[in-house]
């Protein structure tokens, strides 16, 4: 079955903002790795600043909603609040590369705060339609309209006959954001699921806007007249057009699932408004973020869902995942054969690379996080990389306010899994630079993540940047692993000069790297950490 999901992506892209315009034009279609590197450079250059800023704060729930709405081609967000809210949200963290253009705002002033902003909203909905001619207007309340208690749903009900487009209400008030313990609880639950995939937490990062948009779409826009479940269709939740390597991933998914007889109904939310309405035509939702919307679709339209989790990584994991999809759609026999052939092809190709890897000894330097044990497993079992050491740096978790208890349980869980899987790897937790240097001497190659590479390289530890694995290991398909193996083989051949990068010459704080060892920065981090702990949730 051929699925032309790309159609959804290009429609109206000119008006509503394409992802990564310059890179696309510069070299579309040169391959998966090229796509990822280009996205990482052109999009990622902004992303680093955003990540760093999370040490000092979190973004508004409204920004998540704004981003999610702008993923939908033909939809515009209408901010019901003061002008500053829309000004600020034009620069939403996941798409700084392309600031949001078409985002009307009711511009609430003191009068509206006193007398209510419902009139402004009424007028603005009508005006927004006449100006932008969208297919969907998503009304996003802010703290101000949340506090004044405007009856937004009432206003929408009143005006919906006047505008020939859909109107969505998404609760997006900034003060109702996620709980302070969100990440900590999430990681704790995640750790349990490492050992027992059946214990996947039904937990999601609530209150950051994206999930609210998904839920609102299920409740208000999706149409059960499409609930025909006719053609073995699935919906795939994407991380969006602004994710690294999105286009090539989509292409591979469509091709592989197509061979299995599975059609992609749509990619949520990177699709048109019409495609969202027709989402219930799919029999299965492949979920990659929170599950609340999928549970809701199950309830309202009886659409099954399958969460694409870490234990579906690697060759066997991918196979398991694809077979699960096939089985849910009653395609066992036909699809099993396709998966078997694809797996065999992948294994044969991988074997060429494994022959190279097996003659070398490796160490992996990593931050302990969601996928670490399963990445280690992929290195050791799928790539057959002789991994001698896994060095885990937990500073990132500390910097994100993850509790010591959770960090310890993650490390413990990691160690137990490595033992259970009999990987023969020595787990080294928070080694200092001297210890890392000694470990590097004992192996042929050090695999590492780019974030700390400059510091290691300054100390004479030559590293192969394997951070692109994060965008390849979790793809739906086998090609991501082949691409990674090919990349690693090339990198192993490279002669590496001793580097003393400019960025390694700064004084960084040891605990909160890469925060500079600057009292103001550190005090600001400490203030955020304390106030966040004290106040939220």
């Amino acid at each position: 079955m051929e699925t032309d999901v790309k159609l959804d992506i290009d429609v109206k892209a000119e008006r509503y903002g394409k992802a990564l315009e310059t890179p696309e034009i510069a070299g579309r279609g040169k391959g998966v790795l090229h796509d990822i590197f280009r996205d990482r450079a052109f999009h990622g250059v902004h992303q680093g600043t955003t990540w760093q800023l999370h040490r000092y704060g979190i973004n508004c729930k409204l920004s998540g909603s704004v981003y999610a709405v702008t993923e939908i081609l033909g939809a515009i967000p209408l901010v019901h609040g003061p002008i500053g809210c829309s000004f600020h949200q034009r620069l939403t963290p996941r798409r700084i590369y392309t600031p949001i253009q078409d985002m009307p705002c009711t511009g609430l002033d003191e009068n509206a705060v006193i007398y209510g902003g419902e009139d402004e909203l009424r007028k603005k909905i009508v005006d927004s339609y006449s100006r932008y001619k969208p297919e969907l207007i998503a009304v996003l309340p802010t703290c101000v309209s949340g506090l004044t208690g405007d009856d937004i749903q009432g206003v929408i009900h009143e005006v919906e006959a006047k505008v020939p487009c859909d109107i969505l209400y998404v609760p997006s008030e900034g003060f109702a954001h996620r709980d302070r313990r969100a990440l900590d609880v999430f990681l704790k639950d995640f750790t349990k699921a490492w050992k027992d995939p059946a214990k996947v937490p039904a937990y999601e990062i609530r209150g950051y806007g994206h999930e609210e948009v998904m839920l609102a779409l299920v409740d208000q826009i999706m149409d059960d007249q499409y609930d025909e479940n006719a053609d073995n269709l699935v919906n795939i939740e994407t991380f969006g057009r602004f994710s690294y390597g999105f286009e090539s991933e989509l292409k591979e998914m469509a091709s592989l699932l197509g061979k299995m007889g599975v059609g992609i109904n749509t990619t949520l939310l990177s699709c048109t408004v019409d495609a969202i309405k027709k989402a219930p035509a799919a029999r299965l939702n492949i979920v990659r973020r929170g599950i609340r919307w999928a549970e809701q679709m199950k309830k309202e339209f009886d659409t099954d869902y399958l969460r694409r989790w870490f234990f579906y990584t690697g060759i066997d994991g991918t196979e398991k995942f694809l077979l699960y999809v096939a089985s849910t759609l009653d395609l066992d026999g036909e699809a099993e054969e396709v998966v078997r052939i694809e797996k065999k092809r992948a294994l044969q190709e991988l074997d060429k690379y494994c022959k190279t890897f097996k003659n070398h000894v490796f160490a992996l330097f990593t931050i302990g996080f969601f996928f670490t044990p399963y990445s280690v497993k992929t290195y050791a079992l799928d790539f057959k990389i002789p991994l001698k050491y896994v060095c885990v740096d937990t500073r990132w978790m500390r910097a994100q306010n993850v509790s010591d208890e959770t960090t310890e349980s993650m490390i413990r869980g990691m160690g137990e899994l490595i033992d259970d899987w009999d990987l023969g790897v020595e787990l080294v937790v928070n080694p200092n630079l001297h210890e890392l240097k000694e470990i590097a001497k004992k192996v042929d190659h050090v695999l590492g993540e780019r974030s700390a590479t400059p510091i290691y390289e300054k100390e004479g530890i030559s590293m192969i940047d394997t951070s692109i694995g994060a965008y390849l290991f979790n793809r739906i398909g086998f090609n991501g692993m082949l691409e990674f193996a090919s990349y690693l083989t090339q990198e192993m051949k490279k002669q590496r000069n001793h580097r003393e990068p400019i960025i390694s010459k700064f004084d960084y704080d040891e605990t909160y790297y890469p925060i500079l060892a600057d009292p103001m920065c550190l005090a600001s981090r400490e203030m955020w950490s304390t106030m966040w702990r004290l106040r939220s949730g």
Partner: protein, 384 residues
């Protein structure tokens, strides 16, 4: 009307964060704090001097005063800074937090100034003006320094701010004038000592502060346009010299035409090019330079306080070939397949870290012209 304006909160935040050794404590939910930080840190990633009271649902229901009290006490201990500027946003204004009372209830080692910066109460410009007047209560009477002035109207995250200030100072110094304080891009001490200046020079915004200082300290003020271009700069210096009764050394004000000579044929070719400009108070002076000195035809000249949708439509309906504005104009420039020259806040997709490449002053005229030519000449097939 849809304005591309950050609202009062942003204006206040920007004014306060311009006191370089002050800490801005935002009394808001997390999102406002994030927004202010994100716009600021794109221009200086190592300068993080802000904290937030993290108003959550609980504070919305029970009030945010306790959160503010805790934040003040902690910030007072944590930061080694002379000033805490409390910037209160929409939520505390609506729920009625008594911020003054909270500040009075705690004993702190730092100066504390608070500002009602609810976004719904005004524009970015109004926030800036009001904040400076609030901060002015920190100023102290000083002996006047002959031939000195304060420059008022800057923000620490203006595009090219440091380079522009350096160039403006260079020009004023060469005319025998000393810059006492740049507001708001100065230290706490410099700000406190601002009344020592003989003259306040308001460059686009900050008039209310100048008025206040005139009344409180007797410092006269002068409003001038931002010094873009050769003639614009000359006029800027001449006007100031005239007010300070400093004789202008014409020789020193001679600009160097040599850089322009090297590319004069390109300038000939671009003569009469239709362009459009949008921005804050920087827009008119730069349009004047583009029109009167480079010979471009200004198709649309708009302010951030105009309706943005109308601005976009006007540009679409014009022959605009180069657009001058902020990073927000990237989309319309892409749509029309024309180059965008970023010159005004907010710029978050270009950096300006080299302090000798200004847009203001004589050197700025050269740099700006170079930027325009490079943008036009490198605007190749891939984007056109």
């Amino acid at each position: 009307m849809a304005k591309m304006d950050g609202g009062k909160f942003f204006g206040t935040f920007r004014a306060c964060s311009g006191i370089k050794d002050a800490v801005v404590l935002t009394h808001v939910p997390v999102g406002c704090n994030w927004g202010a930080a994100m716009f600021k840190t794109t221009s200086n990633q190592s300068d993080i001097r802000q904290a937030c009271t993290v108003m959550h649902e609980r504070e919305i229901v029970f009030g945010g005063e306790e959160a503010l009290r805790e934040a003040l006490v902690r910030a007072d201990k944590l930061y080694n800074t002379p000033l805490l500027a409390v910037v209160a946003g929409d939520a505390p204004a609506i729920i009625g937090d008594d911020i003054e009372a909270v500040i009075d209830s705690v004993v702190l080692n730092k100066e504390v100034v608070w500002m009602d910066a609810a976004g719904f109460k005004g524009t970015m410009r109004e926030g800036y003006e009001e904040a400076l007047v609030h901060l002015a209560r920190l100023m102290e009477e000083r002996n006047v320094i002959k031939n000195s002035l304060n420059l008022i109207g800057f923000c620490p995250d203006d595009f090219k701010v440091d380079a522009d200030i350096k160039e403006i100072k260079r020009l004023l110094n060469s005319a025998g004038i000393q810059v006492n304080c740049v507001i708001s891009n100065c230290s706490f001490d410099e700000f406190v000592n601002a009344p020592a200046a003989e003259l306040n020079v308001v460059m686009g915004q900050g008039t209310e502060l100048a008025e206040h200082m005139k009344k409180a300290f007797g410092v006269p003020y002068l409003e001038v346009g931002y010094p873009y271009g050769l003639e614009g700069t000359k006029e800027f210096i001449n006007t100031i010299c005239e007010h300070l009764h400093v004789g202008v050394n014409e020789k020193k004000l001679d600009f160097d035409l040599e850089p322009f000579k090297r590319i004069y044929l390109y300038l000939h070719e671009l003569y009469g090019t239709p362009v459009s400009v949008i921005g804050d108070f920087h827009a008119e002076p730069i349009a004047h330079f583009l029109d009167c000195e480079l010979g471009f035809d200004i198709e649309v000249l708009a302010s951030n306080e105009d309706d943005y949708f109308t601005f976009e439509q006007n540009v679409r309906n014009s022959n605009t070939t180069i657009l001058f504005g902020s990073s927000f104009e990237r989309n319309i420039a892409d749509e029309l397949r024309i180059p965008l020259i970023r010159f005004v806040y907010p710029v978050f997709d270009h950096v300006c870290v080299y302090e000798d490449a200004p847009y203001a002053g004589f050197r700025g005229a050269v740099c700006l012209t170079e930027t325009i030519l490079n943008a036009v000449m490198s605007f190749g097939k891939e984007t056109g």
